[in-house]
């Protein structure tokens, strides 16, 4: 214990007690197993065999420095924070040993030592708490949830909504459609699908062979390009409608080839 207060300038841990050197040696064996300098300090503190609140921080600092010296001598690479801690503990030691310098700010050596003791105590407390936590009965190990949970069935019900206004507007839209027609300006160049459909319904009944779509265009709609485009589009749309209804078949042998239409012998059921 005399060694405790000696600060041997020849250093190399020779100043530490035998006990400390043994402790340091034991630690060296498993440097990798430590979780940082605080962990090492906590382990070292156990060799003092006192309550952490009454620990000699000075002696702890000595033990730690011995540990670092030993590692150095054995050429064991210590992580930087171990060395930073060693430097800080050297500083702490000097603060504890030398009379306080009134010009210096900051906490006193005693305050620093007390804080270190607090940190060790807190770390130990957290470790104990962790152990207590892990010792509790655990779900899936000691107690169990329902092994055969019954799934909640999610029923999706769609509710359609419509207001009276929707209904009336819908009706108004249909009933005013016809009146609306004469006001459309360039109507004479437009052939509607309805018109095409009506026309084709009449014609398709006679055709059992493949016939070019273009031959369904109404008279007088094939010359003017504008009118031909509209009539072709309407006729094509109308023929798709007929196919959909199962009244006709449609085919095109290759891209851009003429589109052909034929009456379907037995209309598809649907």
């Amino acid at each position: 214990m005399d060694d405790l207060f000696s600060d041997d300038p020849r250093g190399r841990g020779d100043g530490a007690s035998v006990e400390d050197r043994l402790a340091a040696e034991a630690l060296i064996v498993d440097v990798e197993g430590f979780e940082g300098p605080l962990d090492v300090l906590l382990t070292l503190s156990r060799t003092q065999k006192v309550d952490l609140r009454r620990i000699s921080v000075l002696r702890l600092a000595q033990q730690y420095l011995a540990f670092v010296e030993k590692a150095k001598r054995l050429r064991i690479e210590l992580a930087a924070d171990y060395l930073v801690m060693a430097a800080w503990l050297t500083f702490l030691k000097s603060r504890l040993l030398l009379p306080p310098d009134p010009t210096e700010d900051g906490p006193s050596g005693e305050e620093l030592a007390a804080h270190l003791a607090f940190q060790l105590e807190r770390l130990q407390a957290m470790r104990d708490a962790a152990a207590q936590l892990m010792a509790r009965d655990q779900l899936g190990r000691d107690f169990f949830a329902r092994g055969l949970p019954e799934d909640m069935e999610r029923v999706r019900r769609v509710k359609y909504s419509a207001t009276l206004i929707d209904l009336m507007q819908g009706y108004a839209r249909i009933r005013t459609k016809d009146d609306f027609r004469p006001f459309v300006l360039d109507r004479d160049a437009i052939f509607t699908m309805e018109e095409a459909l009506e026309r084709m319904r009449g014609l398709i009944g006679y055709v059992g062979e493949w016939v070019d779509l273009s031959s369904y265009l109404p008279d007088g709609w094939s010359e003017d390009p504008k009118r031909r485009r509209s009539a072709t589009a309407a006729t094509f749309a109308a023929s798709l409608e007929l196919v959909k209804e199962g009244k006709a078949d449609i085919r095109q042998t290759e891209t851009f080839a003429p589109i052909q239409l034929r009456r379907r012998e037995r209309p598809r059921e649907h």
Partner: protein, 219 residues
């Protein structure tokens, strides 16, 4: 308890009390991911236990409870009481706007009932898909009316009481006519329809119509 679990020596005179065995069966059935047979229960419980007897007590205990002990094949499991199965469903109601096609079809039926499909198509100017009619039937907003006494005897559609309830109408006759729609600003002024729009069932329809309407209000 002096059951020697290491040597597997049966110590028959010291089986746990039946109440304790019942707790065991309860816990095993609860935690097991599959129904458990009586043989399995016996295998898992300490020596000297009688799983069948414990199970009988357990079943009795759960009689009338929110869950019951039921037999699944030759095994046993907890299941929700059938009368509470409604709790196991989470109903999500999605509200969707009715499609334009459905609205228009519905409007035509309402204003012209009874209406055949051909009539609806004539008024709308497009074919009416089967799906649209089915949807309205399913919603119970329309139903089949009398067949029209014309060639082919086509079916007709009329609106239902549910339809009237939903739209807050006493009868389909209460639907406003076009003039009123216009007055209410529901019609674009450009769409000025001449006065040739029929009031719903204004009487210029055939007899069948009138019949259909009255049919609607019979019940």
């Amino acid at each position: 308890m002096s059951i020697d679990r290491d040597t597997d020596e049966p110590i028959l005179f010291d089986a746990p009390p039946i109440a304790e065995q019942e707790r065991m069966v309860e816990a095993i059935l609860f935690a097991s991911a599959e129904p458990v047979t009586v043989a399995d229960l016996n295998k898992r419980m300490p020596h000297g236990c009688d799983a069948a007897e414990a199970l009988a007590y357990l079943r009795k205990r759960y009689e009338g409870r929110g869950v019951r002990v039921v037999r699944v094949g030759d095994a046993w499991a907890f299941r929700t009481a059938p009368d509470l199965s409604f709790l196991m469903q989470q109903e999500r109601i999605e509200t969707r706007k009715l499609s334009r096609a459905a609205i228009e079809t519905l409007a035509i039926i309402a204003y012209h009932q009874p209406a055949t499909r051909a009539e609806i198509e004539e008024i709308r100017g497009v074919t009416v898909s089967r799906g649209t009619i089915d949807q309205l039937l399913e919603m119970e907003w329309i139903r089949f009316g009398r067949r029209r006494m014309t060639p082919g005897r086509p079916v007709t559609f009329v609106v239902t009481q549910q339809f009237l309830d939903h739209f807050g109408l006493e009868s389909a006759r209460d639907l406003p006519g076009l003039a009123e729609l216009r007055a209410a600003g529901l019609l674009d002024s450009r769409m000025l329809g001449v006065g040739n729009m029929p009031m719903p069932n204004s009487g210029d329809d055939d007899e069948d119509d009138v019949l259909g309407q009255s049919e609607l209000f019979e019940d």
